[in-house]
Symmetry: C2
Subunit: 561 residues, 2 copies
């Protein structure tokens, strides 16, 4: 590696994930302030919430700062295939256009995403083998094998002329991860010997005291539990956890049950896993239609929808709306998953529906059928002991996680610890680490097929439409005398009087009010569309508030004839 | 008590709360099937959720079945003043019109509600003393003192010629409730001696193994914690828990801090408590404006908003938008409350905001600063041991709670246990308990100031408006030639192209599409408003889906001139 030049700096810039769990986008820059070269590490999404962002499908980090420097972006490097690390690539790549590097399983899933977005031929995607190395300008990157809840989780040892940054990505310490190797302790110890300038580290479970636990424990329990089940068994798990999927398959095999995959992403992940050599020696699956011919005690359904997503397989099964899968008295559903905060009501709705039909439930509440993929406090301590960084930079968390992680780093006597916010440009070297700039950062949204800004007025309008409804008043005004020649006609949406007739009366009232407001306009105002609209809107709004106790959006359409 | 007549039956009918936590409405009927007399016990609300019911303020049990029998309703009896037990009275009383009975604190809060709804002079509200008795037709009702998380929680011992029903209402076993007496064990034991036909019982915490814990423990810890705080202290708690409020006041006093009440419902509940003789010997409060003149170590703010409600005091303080209360580095916020499922994100948002400013947080996650008001499994067992009912009827819970409660009752060898659904009419006597009918039950909504049915189309329209937006096309058609003489004019709401100019182009495109669709109509279709609308709606919808990848609501306003 060449020596650092006098004005060189090594900087770290999180644009997503430092302030929320999800939507990770991290960048490292190297060079003098006016001529940095960049690599991007991960580029993920989070999901819109119906209560605050109705109709928004995906939330992405705003890449504007990097987009303006895209000539200087050498690479986009992906640590692993979870949506919060790769999900934004298909949307943001056209604005960044850098080559992409990933290990085989991540690359397999990414290819499908790129295909969906019509980008497969455009993106230069290079597969890196596990424990591979990548030399990109001033960056020399080792892929370090870790364990997590998806195949091929990699940390990145990023060497630069100004020092080595250990970027963990998402990890836990699983002594027996079932698929893939265990944590590459040797690499971590070697790194520490070499000297780690900074560790940029997962903070998700900093409030969890003990270890995450091992996938192999879950496998044992699933085998035990499924062996005891009498009727049909359905297991729901996060599809991307291939080790878990394999465990369910092995539990089925041990109990002489044939596995039926239910749900699109189950098929997608199993396909991707098999394409890179995983899940090879497993019994054949049965398809949904054929599964109905099996005796109840000979089938195991492996389903998506553990979070109660209304359109996922499990919700349809719970509502008894699934074409092929019917669960009833004596059958069992195993939730080999956790409750993601915010999904309680939906998941409890599933529980209620299944219990109502006499279906037995096994959940992580009282059975060890799930383990987290992120490091608890003990594991974090172990990682600091291995890597011995001079600087701790917690990422991947809300403010409370990052702040707590800084406290932990101080406890562990790490020389320096900084909890960055998205957009904080941190100089890691030379000199002590410091936030040297705040660059534009934020969220953008995938709304249908359009990418929009967080501040887009359409979003506040939609929230208001959802809560308050809409009124439209159309009227035709004569070109000569400027009097009403047709209408005003009122249309309402999302507003009820609880009774059809009363609603008709309310519409009549709105039309009367609009007409009255028009009649009070001066002659010159009547010639002015904007004046007509403003006055009628005001009057109709007031009337609506009286009628419904609500503040609907009111539009007036003036036609001049 | 007179003897039962040959055809007499005693029935129980839950219309709310058996299938959800919240919105309790229970009724007891006595008499022959065609001539029953009814009492209603509790009449509560639950709250609308922005994700599934945007804009709906309150959710109420549908009272139709009882409304149709309102001549035979002798009384509405309230067990305690929580919203999920009294909140619907102001909305549903006009449809039921029965006299209301409650203990003094409940009556005090109810009066305010009735005043808001203009019903204070109409409702006959009778105050019953604690441990009082009420004779109503075939029902002879003892108010039995219990403990809960609000003053004056009463169970009802309902005697009828066909047996005694023990209706617990909400309860826990608090050996030192601080305000009010402890659980009236003597009354419970006496009831058991007399023979309890059925116990209708709270199921909220049936999945919680241990005891709820005592308010007095929380008081001790609050006093200890506040004593150690250095800067300003804010305590947030459910306002209706007057014992907790008193604990915070005493913790302040012990630490030489003056209490400042922040938030309307804090003032309201403290007022109601004082009006019935509680919170008498407490130091004077300081008002918000004056509080700013106190030294930080001499003030304690008692705030509403523990659930992260965006408009409540605590959220405004967290966002630093409160006029008088400013918290900063070195100050402390104590969440003497629990996280109600579904509110995680909002509450964690508060945590993040406070931590960001260096404010210390004390929460029930790691400090014993909150106890539940509902009985854990141990307490349920104790209650069954006391009351020894022949029939267990779990209420106040989702299906999963009620089903688990039935399992518990079977474990305890209760002769019979039934988990009712809202609308199940259960004959409790004579003979074994059985569901003898399913009557109309459901939810209705307070939407603005209108009460609407759950199936009201306005609600699905609003959900769609919120997610997909709205388009209106107005056009004027000449009366003679049936050609377009003005328009079509497109208006969109809640739809963005990410760019003003592109939105203009999209509007032009919609207008072109509408015009094109009109031009393809036959002459006779052009004369028919419905045909014009249907065809234009179809064409514009398709165009919108292409432009935005969304399915907005499309309306076409045809004006004939």
């Amino acid at each position: 590696m060449s020596a650092a030049k006098p004005n060189d700096e090594l900087v770290f810039l999180p644009l997503g994930g430092s302030g929320e769990i999800g939507m990770n986008l991290n960048a490292y820059g190297y060079g003098p302030a006016d001529d940095r070269q960049w690599i991007i590490v991960d580029i993920g999404v989070t999901f819109g919430r119906e209560d605050t962002l109705p109709g928004v499908d995906l939330v992405l980090p705003d890449p504007t700062y990097l987009e303006e420097r895209r000539e200087d972006i050498i690479a986009i490097v992906l640590t692993h295939a979870h949506e919060d690390h790769i999900g934004a690539l298909g949307w943001l790549w056209p604005r960044l256009k850098a080559p992409v590097y990933a290990t085989p399983f991540t690359a397999a899933l990414l290819r499908e995403k790129l295909k969906e977005r019509g980008l497969l031929d455009k993106v230069k995607l290079t597969e890196i083998p596990l424990k591979g190395n990548l030399k990109l300008g001033p960056f020399d990157i080792d892929f370090v094998t870790l364990t997590h809840s998806i195949p091929e989780p990699n940390g990145l040892a990023i060497r630069t002329p100004l020092g080595l940054v250990w970027h963990t990505g998402d990890w836990k310490i699983d002594p027996d991860p079932l698929i893939g190797e265990t944590t590459d302790e040797a690499a971590l110890r070697a790194m520490a010997e070499e000297g780690v300038l900074a560790m940029v580290c997962d903070s998700t479970n900093v409030f969890v005291d003990d270890h995450a636990g091992s996938e192999s424990d879950v496998r044992k329990r699933l085998i035990e539990i499924v062996a005891k089940c009498k009727g049909r068994v359905a297991v729901t798990a996060f599809a991307s956890n291939v080790a878990r999927i394999e465990s369910a398959i092995m539990a089925a095999k041990a109990a002489k049950r044939t596995v039926c995959l239910v749900g699109r992403s189950m098929h997608r992940i199993v396909g991707a896993a098999q394409s890179v050599g995983m899940l090879q020696d497993i019994p054949a699956f049965v398809d949904e239609a054929e599964s109905t011919e099996l005796d109840p005690e000979n089938v195991l359904y492996l389903c998506t929808g553990s979070q109660g997503e209304p359109r996922a397989a499990l919700s349809r099964i719970a509502r008894n709306e699934h074409r092929h899968v019917n669960l009833r008295q004596g059958d069992t559903v195993i939730f080999s998953s956790r409750v993601i905060p915010g999904n309680e009501t939906a998941i409890h709705g599933l529980y209620n529906a299944f219990l109502e039909r006499g279906v037995e439930l096994i959940t992580a509440d009282d059975h060890p059928v799930h383990v987290s993929g992120h490091p608890g406090r003990d594991e974090l301590k172990q990682m600091y002991a291995w890597a011995r960084p001079r600087i701790a930079v917690p990422v991947h968390g809300e403010r409370r996680h990052l702040i707590e992680h800084v406290r932990l780093a101080h406890e562990l006597q790490i020389e320096q610890a900084l909890a960055p916010k998205n957009g904080d440009l941190i100089r890691l070297a030379p000199g002590p680490a410091a936030i040297i700039d705040e660059v534009p950062a934020g969220r953008i949204y995938v709304d249908g097929q359009v990418i929009i800004e967080a501040a887009d007025e359409a979003l506040t309008e939609r929230q208001r439409l959802g809560e308050e409804g809409a009124i439209n008043i159309a009227l035709a005004i004569g070109a000569k005398k400027h009097n009403i020649v047709a209408g005003p006609n009122a249309t309402v949406r999302g507003l009820s009087m609880g009774d059809e007739e009363e609603l008709e009366d309310a519409l009549d009232e709105l039309e009367r009010v609009a007409e009255g407001a028009f009649s009070r306009l001066s002659h010159s105002d009547r010639e002015d569309d904007e004046a007509v609209e403003a006055n009628l809107v005001r009057a109709v709004r007031k009337a609506a508030e009286k009628l419904w106790g609500k503040r609907p959006l009111v539009d007036v359409s003036v036609l001049r004839v």
